[in-house]
Amino acid sequence: MEKYRQSVSRSAPGCVVILLDRSDSMKLAWGRTGASLADGAALAVNNILLDMCIKATTEVNAPVRHYFDVGIFSYGARVTEPGEGVESAFGGALAGRGLVPLPELAEHPMAVREEPSIDLMPVAARMPVWVDPLHGHRTPMCQAIAVAGAHVFDWAAAHPDSFPPIVVNITDGMVTDSPYDGATLQDWARRLTSIETNDGATLFFNVFLSPFEVTEIVFPSDPGGLPPPGPDLFALSSPLPRPMADNARVDGYDVRPGARGLAFNVGRSTLLRVLQIGTRVPDRAR
């Protein structure tokens, strides 16, 4: 039976988890944006959360629909205590929370601030913000998967009929904690993608940020030609399921058979577009 067909609804919401690199190298300037990688990544995450809230806003006098449960876990520097680690990246009323239902997310941004717009969004003078930029320490990516994985596991057990969980890892560097707890990054990624619903296995997508303006590589179907750590990330990334591949083509990307959910050396607006494609679950179950 074809997988990845389920659409989102109140009784079968989807799950989106973002793993956000907060290592020290995220302080580097991002191309010519004038801001750091950390700033740019936080901006993109806030934009995709707003995007999801907008998509779930269907009518006046109606609440934001519970289309997704959302989690953001950061790895590297922490807000809550000194030192390196993994924590929920939500701030404000949602601080410390794991997976948060979308209507609750929409109600509780950490702040509403003037933010620069990223190309695709309409110029909103003030935007809700859920995540702040931060950088420091190294890159405990394995631990991030371990922590997030527990939430994803419980979620999948409670939502067997839902579209499978989507985990998007945004990073600028190499993992520094592999092996973690006796398992390599590859082992952790396998553990994560072994979590399933009836509609398929968890999707693990990776977005690699570069401070330099280099050629973007989006949804490659072949690791050949990717500079390090491209081939490693390629091996970790799930193939794009058909509905997402179709959406990516509609958006103008050249998506070939075997394309993986990997975006390499992307700029800020591409990051947002990739997040939009990676979190867009079918409208109708086909």
Binding site: R10, E59, H66, L99, P101, G149, F153, A157
Partner: protein, 176 residues
Amino acid sequence: MTTRNAIVLVLTAVCATAGALAGLQVWDLNLWRSVMVVLVGAFLGVVLAFGLLTTDRRVVRLGHPVAEREPVPAPSTEPGTKPRTWWTETPTSAPPPRHESPPQGHHVDQAVVAHGYDVDRAVVAQCPRCGDFRLDLKQDGDSCAFHCRNPRCGHRWEWRAGAPWPTTVVRRNLTG
């Protein structure tokens, strides 16, 4: 239960009681037996009325209100401080898949119950204002007065047999 049916049942109970009381004038029974006769008479009358009402086919189909589905609450998860070996666990809280097995060899559910009348010759009444099917009906010969029981609608209209059904727009998002 419609207003009409409720009135019929009450009247039936009253009449049965009256009949039992009248009968007591013929037979002289002690107090407890007299009370029993009246109660049994009333009960039998009501049972008879139920039977008559449910075999009435001109106005048919007891509707069941469509249940609104309760949202499945998302598990309240907090970041754990102790690492869990979740990758070794078998998911246990999954409810069994909600699939009904399709009938063998049939691609269309044979959910059609024998009607006892020709559906091709029937008008199926629904509210013109909202499309709901939960209706009260008062009939007077060929003339029908309807009331929509959708709590957000409450529309009333009249219709005469042979006339076309009024303009109907299905509205499910009424706010009252």
